[in-house]
Symmetry: C2
Subunit: 413 residues, 2 copies
Amino acid sequence: MELIEICRRAKEAKYKVQDLTTKEKNKALLKVADGLIKDTKTILDANNADYEEGKLSGMHQGMLDRLKLDEKRIEAMAEGIREVCALEDPIGEVMESFKRPNGLKISKVRVPLGVIGIIYESRPNVTADAFALTFKAGNAVILKGGSDAINSNIAITNSIRNSLRSLNIEPDAVQLIENTDRQVTTKFMQMNDYVDVLIPRGSAGLIRAVVENSTIPVIETGTGNCHIYVDKDADFEKAIPIIVNAKTQRIGVCNAAESLIVHKDIKDSFLPLFEKAMKEHSVEIRADKESIENLDGAVPATEDDFYKEYLDYIISVKTVSDVDEAIDHINKYNTGHSESIITENKDAAKKFLKRVDAACVYVNASTRFTDGFEFGFGAEIGISTQKLHARGPMGLKELTSYKYQITGNGQIR
Amino acid sequence: MELIEICRRAKEAKYKVQDLTTKEKNKALLKVADGLIKDTKTILDANNADYEEGKLSGMHQGMLDRLKLDEKRIEAMAEGIREVCALEDPIGEVMESFKRPNGLKISKVRVPLGVIGIIYESRPNVTADAFALTFKAGNAVILKGGSDAINSNIAITNSIRNSLRSLNIEPDAVQLIENTDRQVTTKFMQMNDYVDVLIPRGSAGLIRAVVENSTIPVIETGTGNCHIYVDKDADFEKAIPIIVNAKTQRIGVCNAAESLIVHKDIKDSFLPLFEKAMKEHSVEIRADKESIENLDGAVPATEDDFYKEYLDYIISVKTVSDVDEAIDHINKYNTGHSESIITENKDAAKKFLKRVDAACVYVNASTRFTDGFEFGFGAEIGISTQKLHARGPMGLKELTSYKYQITGNGQIR
């Protein structure tokens, strides 16, 4: 199908999806979850074709792992949809209501965004995830997945559409752009008359490409150059487990730590403990001039290192004279994601919370908690690193907008 | 000064502005208001240079009027700033606060957006307005006004900066891009590392240019193809004054009505009354096939007319069979600004409020009320017609973002 026709259909569908009741949406989500289980064989066959293709073309093992589906992963996809079904419906909430002196009654009411475009890479489970969240928030969605997972994505989308159709719900609530040509993707990013918001999910490169080419409003997600600052008043028994957790529990995620900042007054006592812990987890250390003398196995850090989101077993180290210098360093190099201070000093903590410019700022906790589930939102479509519209973990509410409904009895200006 | 240096300074300044207390900001705003009055002569001299230049280059009379300042207009600018000073400071508000089962305390706190870029045309009063609102919401601002008003804008910005400096507040809280070359403006729209949000204020052409060229998140404002739908159950004594008000009270504004939609069952009785009222205000009528037979002096409307924001003494007329067709027509042609239904029928009103896709949807009132002052927000930076971040009149709150502040005692995942 032509891109323009997909967009037209999505715009038609959004009016139908926004009219669905919570009950209708929930019934549909359960049906879709059951449908995915029922269609397991078809989906796995399609996925296998993608996987074989990926192997033949020399796809990296990590990518192959993310691409691969099995019965358990399809069950997890269905379970994820059931969890979204259990979440509260944000649509229709009266956010504010007031009466003006001239008698006009103004209500600010939560409404869907409309048509959401999701551009993502080779993880086919995003297809089901993104549908569930956008649909529950009353939106129509257009999905553009990576070419590597095209057969899987077609099979999953077809399964969802069939389930919707069986309940007489407009199947165009979810559509997949099957043509994965770059030109089509670029054209999609300029369909302002049809698409209300674009959300890219994936690598920094993908997100940059969308930001640069899109004329549709974009929500940037998921680049995290996250720091842990160990203050002079830090409790080392908190600091070490937090750094180990933030750096090594899962290295490839956006809320993993990439850099340690250490106060000069404690570097002699703290850095040897830090290095020991990093060695136990085979983490390479790239250290600045001041810290490298306390670190036996570290290599010198370049300016470039401080800008890097390694997503690997590597951490940079920067020494500072006080909390102000730590804050300035973070505000210069970070990506606005998650930052943590380890300190028992309330003033330092307060200053750090106030002045660090990031979506999530922590005191004495791991940056790994920046996550929709960990925040209690139940699910997330991504972590926003921009300041417009939504910041940090984005749940259902962040997939909505609002409108003002104004009732009068003949008022004029 | 080079653009990059302006951007660097704004990024430095934002950390200082966000640390100011409400008292410090208010004191500064009052000083700035007094300063503008004190500098009246300098500002008027500069403005006169722009005005003479405009006349020489054959500027349209309407544009010249908007460009022209006098003592009264400078007083109004100062008064506008004092009004912003009186508004509640949105910064620091704890929007939500909750504790997770693992003991993490999470607070969602309102913070400034950071650096805001405003791109506007030849109205020099925007310079003072935009500073006051962005500053009160804790932001640094970079202004890019039209070349036609460059001398006025330099004089106003200098006055504001001098007032800030006299209170030891960072003058780079407000900067003007004095180089009005198109290339510089385009480069400005791609300063993602420094500027958090761009807000264009002006014509549809300006806004389109910003949306197409910016890689920074944009808030689209102020294009209004607004409709009034007169239902079969309308009270004509409400309908006529509302249409006259919405169409003619001020023709050049975005919340003015551009199109009448009429239910076929009442067109014979209503349209003659409508035509009489329009004639009294010299409004040209462009009518569809069904309505033109009831209108003596109307010309036929083309498809193109229904897409037009005339901003002139012209109105289009479309006939429909029911409220559903009216809603579909609006959702096809509107710009998401303001739409009104005139009806005594509660079901029709309810359907219209729910299904029309626009920032502000009215029952029995003029679309002219879509305005920050009329909504009680005290002031506005513009009317957003997009769904991301803010919709409708944007006051101080809409110039803010939020961050999550999370306090733990050693939590790891």
